[in-house]
Symmetry: C2
Subunit: 403 residues, 2 copies
């Protein structure tokens, strides 16, 4: 076992449990005699190249546990995508500090960064384990049944739509809720957790896995509204037309892209407003409201799945166990029962820069809802203590006037 | 004591605890021998005039307790504002069903409705107690230290900004969160609950109690951004210019008004988008994001203050106790300690159709933040079990490259 330092970093969008993974790495690494120090890089790989490192060995376990329960990335994050020159800088810093175990917690872009850094070290004959620890609210990593961060965000979306449905029942109208998810509709589909009674919403769910057609959407809304006198809709921010162009980018003057070429979809209410305007003007329905869940859904304080917390922690612990044996790659979550999981060492090429989308069996034939198979998939993930909900069942009083 | 029926209804916007008040009325009324039945009107006063009543006497206590813990208005709600003709219809229904105790749970508009109905019954010499039970997320009822529904919504806003602040710290930029509140800024001010560390956001808070000036806003943002390299802003949907025109209505093509003449402010992302556009174009800051909290904040499942639940229940129980003695009026919450409350019988004329706003001592001199007096006011309300948050305190590692 090579003696050296551990370096851990967090990349991409924050989640409610990404600090569980961070603390999982730190606590697990403390157990190994070959570890001569545990460093954290501030703001992901950008902190490595700037040599902005902190000594996590100095943290108390009491504070680490408080940080683990805190949402968002405690080390800070980045959207940087390292190229060859960037990798050379990373290499110099890693070598200078004798880092022999590198753990990068992140999604598909971050796993690709991890892969590039690992390859670069290999090419330079610098012996180092580089292990990717999975996280993403989009749930779009290949090889994983689901990804830490997603279940807590799904719990948020489910609780939001449960409340929205009850609100919409009290003051009927049409409601559009726009949920995060660029290419994968898992998080939007989680809106279905809000349904308990037969007439509960969301009545319609639109996912990026299917082409969005405005006329079909309006026909769907009209049908539901005629039946229930109300309609609750969940739409992914990534819904797109037949050409694959996101509906929201058709509306924006200046399209903003990050270093990975991703168009900015969140942080604007434009899509919800457009869909509401269409319902108002084309269907003549008066009470139409739209919300964009935005940044609330990925780091809301106190809405977290205990299952997600446990799995985020455990997958990071497994990453350290593998890394300490010299493994380079990723750790994937496999479902092995109903409900149980295993953490599996996985070649990073099977994950890096790839995107998993919802399987067909989770989406109904009309492409405007989810199936029972999806409900069975998501229910065990979102936590063991979901709040209870009920409705009045009091019988109607006979009318005695105007007889 | 007059023998007759109890009728309970819910008006205005739903809250997370309005069903606690409903169940408080039902459970308390069951104890009185003079009560020959407990009816609920569907969708507030509109359900009374349509004689859409349900017999709550038939509900099990087990289900009533589940409904109490469920957000939104279980009986349904309405935005109707009764005029004289409307009141005559209400009177006919009340008399036909021998309703002698009328409880209307709602905000300032609903209390006015309650007052009008009470006056109408009086004018017709129909003996009936009409008691208003307070609720509103805006916290804008006169005579009340605070109003049931507000503390839970404030908890939501506080938890949201706590997470948003951590998210913004991980991926720095400018963030604008738009919060409900037409004339009163209490709910927006609750964003300050997200601050723990000295550099935590929201760094700026804009309330409808002060005139909003776009140039001053941009100067504020620039100052904070220059200092912290990031800026989190909480803005009320009701912020307005010097003429009193809401900033958001300047943007909308078709201004929508309800029966009370209130302009629609929620259910659109326009204000957040406008403020973000200004920051991007005028200050040249790239990463600028905006969210509109919309309907999530008033009926989110599972984010509720236990203090609020208790007070919503208890104020309704007190309303029944007073009503059974023939009292007509409202019940107000008075703070009598730090922290303790009393429920006080209050003439409805002191509440109906009036709006309370934040006292000057809660707002800083610059009009862009709240004071310690406000923090002391709000902290006991939002619950006894707020989630804990912490940050890493690991020391920086000395740079060893480029020496």
């Amino acid at each position: 076992m090579l003696r050296g330092k551990v370096l851990v970093a967090q990349g991409g969008g924050p989640t409610a449990v990404i600090n569980q993974s961070l603390v999982g790495v730190v606590q697990e690494a403390r157990k190994y005699a070959q570890v001569e120090g545990i460093y954290g890089a501030l703001h992901g790989v950008s902190g490595i190249v700037k040599e902005e490192l902190v000594d996590l060995t100095q943290e108390t376990t009491a504070n680490l546990e408080r940080v683990a329960a805190t949402p968002s990335s405690a080390l800070g994050s980045t959207r940087d995508k390292p190229d060859a020159a960037y990798c050379e800088k990373i290499y110099k810093v890693l070598k200078a500090h004798n880092v022999r175990y590198f753990f990068y917690i992140g999604g598909n872009d971050s796993s690709d960064t991890c892969r590039l850094v690992g390859n670069f070290a290999k090419a330079e004959n610098y012996e180092m384990a580089a292990v990717h620890v999975p996280k993403t609210v989009d749930n779009d990593l290949m090889e994983n049944d689901h990804v830490p961060g997603f279940p807590s965000a799904a719990r948020f979306v489910g609780c939001a739509f449960s409340g929205i449905n009850l609100d919409n029942k009290a003051l009927p109208g049409v409601y559009v809720g726009v949920v995060m998810g660029r290419h994968a509709g898992f998080l939007t589909a989680a809106a279905a957790l809000g349904r308990i009674q037969p007439d509960d919403g969301p009545h319609l769910i639109y996912l990026p896995e299917r082409t969005f057609d405005m006329d079909r959407f309006l026909a769907d809304v009209k049908r539901v509204y005629d039946q229930h006198k109300r309609c609750v809709i969940a739409a992914s921010e990534g819904i797109h037309d037949a050409e694959g162009i996101p509906i929201v980018t058709r509306l924006m003057k200046n399209v903003e892209k990050d270093a990975h070429g991703n168009v900015q979809l969140s942080g604007t209410g434009a899509l919800a407003d457009l869909m509401c305007d269409q319902v108002k003007s084309k269907l003549g329905i008066k009470r139409v409201r739209g919300d964009t869940f935005g940044y609330l859904q990925r780091s809301f304080l106190g809405v977290v799945s205990d299952v997600d917390q446990r799995e985020a922690r455990e997958s990071a612990q497994m990453a350290v166990k593998l890394g300490m044996q010299g493994f380079t790659g990723s750790v994937a979550i496999k479902r092995v029962g109903d409900y149980a999981v295993e953490y599996v060492a996985t070649p990073i090429e099977k994950i890096a820069a790839l995107t998993r989308v919802m399987p067909d069996e989770f989406i109904n034939a009309e492409g405007n809802n989810v199936t029972p198979a999806f409900m069975n998939y998501i229910r065990p993930l979102v936590g063991t203590t979901l709040p209870d909900v009920s409705v009045l069942r009091a019988p109607k009083v006979a009318k005695i006037l105007n007889k």
